[in-house]
Amino acid sequence: MNYSFLSPLLLLLFPLLGAAQNATVSGTLRDGQNGETLIGATVQAPGLGKGNASNEYGFFSLTLPEGNDSVELRFAYIGYQTQTLKVVPRGSVKLDIQLMPVGSVLEEVVIKANALDEKRKSTEMSVSTISTREVKALPALFGETDIIKILQLKPGITPGSEGTTGLFVRGGNNDQNLIVLDEAVVYNANHLFGFFSTFNSDAVKDLKVYKGGFPAQYGGRLSSVIDVRMKEGNSKKLSGTGGIGLISSRLTLEGPIQKDKSSFIISGRRTYADIITEQINKANENTPDYNKIPRYFFYDLNTKVNFTLSPKDRLFLSGYFGRDVFTFKDPTFDFRFDWGNATGTARWNHVFGPTLFANTTFTFSDYRYKIQNELQGFSFSLGSNVKDANTKVDFYWQPNNSHTVRFGANVTYHDFITARLKAGSDDGRVRFESGRDYDGWEYGAYAADEWAFDRLKLSYGLRLSMWQNDPAFYANIEPRAAANYEVNKRLSFKASYARMNQYVHLLASSGLSLPTDIWYPTTEGVKPEISDQIAVGTSYLIGDQILVTWEAWYKWMQNSVDFKDGAELFGNNDLENELAIGRAYAYSPLELEIEKKEGRLTGWIGYTLAWVRKGDFPEIDNGAWFPPRHDTRHNLSVVALWDAHKWKKKGKDKSLQITATFVYTSGYPAWLPSGRASFTDFPGAQPQFVVPIYGPRNTFRYPAYTRTDLGIVYKWKRKNGLENDLTLSVYNATDRRNPYFITIAVETQPTPLGEVPFEIKARQVSLFPILPSLTWNFKF
């Protein structure tokens, strides 16, 4: 192995060691009400023109010229009151800052922190953040707030089928998103076949998505990183939130274990349609020929505890467990289908000094599904499982205000069980078994520096990723680079390049996220998927409230995985024989976002004009290039949150918020038949007079998709501090019939030969009409 590529990076980092003698102010930025750390909060010394931001653990470090005169520091975060204080810059100054939120219903929301300007000035591009405030206020399908569905409203991200949580980021597949919850990978972030995500918004603190320009600390997926962080728990007082909705109810409790030193949070969510269906079944148990309704429910449980072990050490333990359960049981049939994720994270933050911070993490991830059927001497089971155990250490070093260095390493053990099928008789006379086990080791090491000088900021780094799945071994270098040139106080130009490798692949037989989709490792035959993405863009700040961001990008992918025609996924020990390996590319000359995060009216407008193509698969249409299902030309989303009115009545603080989203998506490609044939079939089988003949893939385009959702949030706060809100969501408020799929319907008539067709029509099936829903939420 030639490691000479590291030399230029080390040379670039070396001068940092010789930095001049300075004072350093460092510490942690927290929410003053609940003690949660604040990510991306700013610390500035306006008089010196110096500033910085807290990292993802709330840690900040600011270097100042040493002196005897006090310097004014300003700490700010969106939605919080700005705090200023003076320090004398001598040696190391440690400050733990607590900012008070300004979001209570009667207070005038005057937000001093200019998050949009920070975003404009950052080298980060192709990044979006979602706040839980937005998630909770925006209208949602069945009133079930969902952070992933809000993410779909961001430019560059195409949703899957209607109502589902699919994410196709900049032309990438749904499996090319690295979704991490407190740094543990979530392999299938879906409930109910993708209609709801696994993230309970009551337990989520922050979500950040990278669509390109990936920082070097991230690797393992081609198209996006979705970093979800759970709340840490209120370290000041016991508090709770909850809600009762159409689909599910939620309850979250959080509080200090030892005030300001340690805290916990526990959050649960469960659906209750099964309680109703079980009552219906019970009421009909004596009805002849009654068809019992199967039982279905899903639930999530999030827990987290954190301990401040010393001024320099903090320990976090968090876990997630969620399951979907579908059962049917009566004397003639006993069936169970369950699937879900479990994750666990142990994280230790250690501050080595005013400029060096380390995070050491152990994570565990498990996704599995199992289908079981047992009856009178025979049993059947089918299941898949992917498990990860990961260790990583990340260092954050800020030797001076010009450089922010990150370096670290990780190792992950993957364990796969692919489509394990067992069927047979209990006495062993009849037995079927199939499915294979795999494992693999994934290694990563990276170093990166963000270098700010004058108007130019550079971020550059390298990641070395390796995969071992005996006898296969792959090592890949992933360069990462980003630049921001600040033309003036309003305008910045940005550019980025990133290479990513993906060593695990989802074998999904449709565009939907099904629990039975199989994760499959890189092997000798299935090589790592590789993507390269370049992006350029500008950010322009209008006033201090509106940020306009334009980006253009081109992404090309190698070793893309698809299925051969008619692939068999189950009962197949040679899945690789069913795979086709090819290439893909996607590009957009125009990905536009106009954001407004402050004031009574907030929201964003996102628009993307993009093309996506896959091809060079020898077994698919002789290698022809075709548009995948997520190749939608125009994607427009408009999101608005309006704080309409605030008032006080009978001692209660009240407020009314009106929200709306509008979505337009060009029709997506579909594979529809072009011809039809007739077969009389074997004796005993029915003749099939209309067998569709499929030609090249995805030559048809569905009609465009348009949807308007509306929401009203009415909040009131009692004198005793109990906060309530009633949220009315109206999904598809215009009651538009959007195409979910188009089927070719054949009308038949009886003849001596059987039912022969006399009319063939195309029939569009829509999924959701106008769907109002009401949710009651509370907080104490």
Binding site: L672, P683, P752, A762
Partner: protein, 283 residues
């Protein structure tokens, strides 16, 4: 009058909601251009004459053939059809033939009977009236007999029974089966119709079962076809093509044919060997 909300009002509300939602509608769409293809369906049943149905496919929305004489309009006539086996060649005559119980249609029929010796190789050659050519090959398989059929009544609901059908599989080679289960008559819509391979069978004994759905007096036609890999792939692809058009969760498939040639055909040339058991459910 006491009204049970769960039993009476909720179902009415649900039905009213779904009907009023009106979530389907007919639409006009343009499908890709399509050139009609010859469709070959030729099964070699031991002891029966060589028989083949040769038709043409249609563009999907083609109104041609959408009538009561659907098959007659699709028939592809005037072809020269031969089948070669054991060093001899039989020519099939272009003649419409309808067989009943179960009902089948052929438009090319030979004079000789299909030999049932396992391992016999057959070569199909078709020269269409327009000069297009089609060829295919297949090999005769052995019948895999049904060893036993067992009817078991449910211990809790003794009015309902299930049926277990056992065969003994030759584990020295990979075998493919199609299972058909018809109630009342062979022309009825099959209650079970699926393909299976013995690839993962750990035992020579293979069982096919039903749910507890049979009642005393039911007549059950139980058929186990021994099929070739080509047929297995063909039938699977046909099923995927049908399901892919109806189910948004399914990935469609082009039809995997084992007939090829300049005429760009689709279809199948395969042996038709099976064992069938007819049982009347008794306590």
């Amino acid at each position: 009058m006491k009204i049970n909300i769960l039993k009476e009002i909720l179902p009415v509300l649900a039905i009213t909601f779904l009907v009023s939602c009106n979530l389907t509608k007919d639409v006009e769409i343009d499908l890709p251009d399509y050139d009609r293809q010859p469709v070959v369906e030729c099964y070699l049943e031991p002891g029966k004459p060589f028989r083949m149905l040769l038709t043409r496919s249609y563009a999907f929305f083609d109104t041609l053939g959408l009538s009561s004489n659907f098959i007659q309009n699709a028939l592809l006539e005037g072809a020269l059809v031969t089948i070669t086996y054991n060093g001899q060649t039989d020519t099939l005559k272009n003649q419409l033939t309808i067989v009943t119980n179960p009902l089948k249609v052929y438009n090319y029929v030979g004079q000789n009977l299909v030999p049932g010796t396992p391992g016999t190789e057959f070569v199909l050659n078709i020269r269409l009236a327009d000069g297009g050519e089609i060829t295919g090959t297949t090999t005769m398989l052995s019948v895999v007999p049904i060893d036993s059929v067992v009817v078991e009544f449910n211990p809790e609901l003794d009015t309902l029974a299930r049926m277990l059908t056992y065969i003994t599989d030759d584990q020295s080679e990979e075998n493919f089966y199609r299972r058909l289960l018809n109630y009342s008559s062979l022309d009825s819509f099959p209650d079970q119709d699926f393909l299976v391979t013995d690839r993962f069978s750990q035992t020579a004994l293979i069982a096919f079962g039903t749910g507890y759905e049979l009642k005393e007096g039911d007549t059950v036609f139980n058929t186990i076809f021994h099929v070739t890999r080509d047929y297995y792939d063909f039938k699977e692809s046909v099923d995927l093509a049908v399901v892919g058009n109806l189910n948004p969760f399914a990935q469609p498939s082009p039809i995997k044919s084992n007939v090829r040639g300049s005429a760009n055909p689709v279809g199948i040339f395969a042996p038709l060997v099976y064992d069938r058991d007819t049982t009347i459910v008794m306590k």
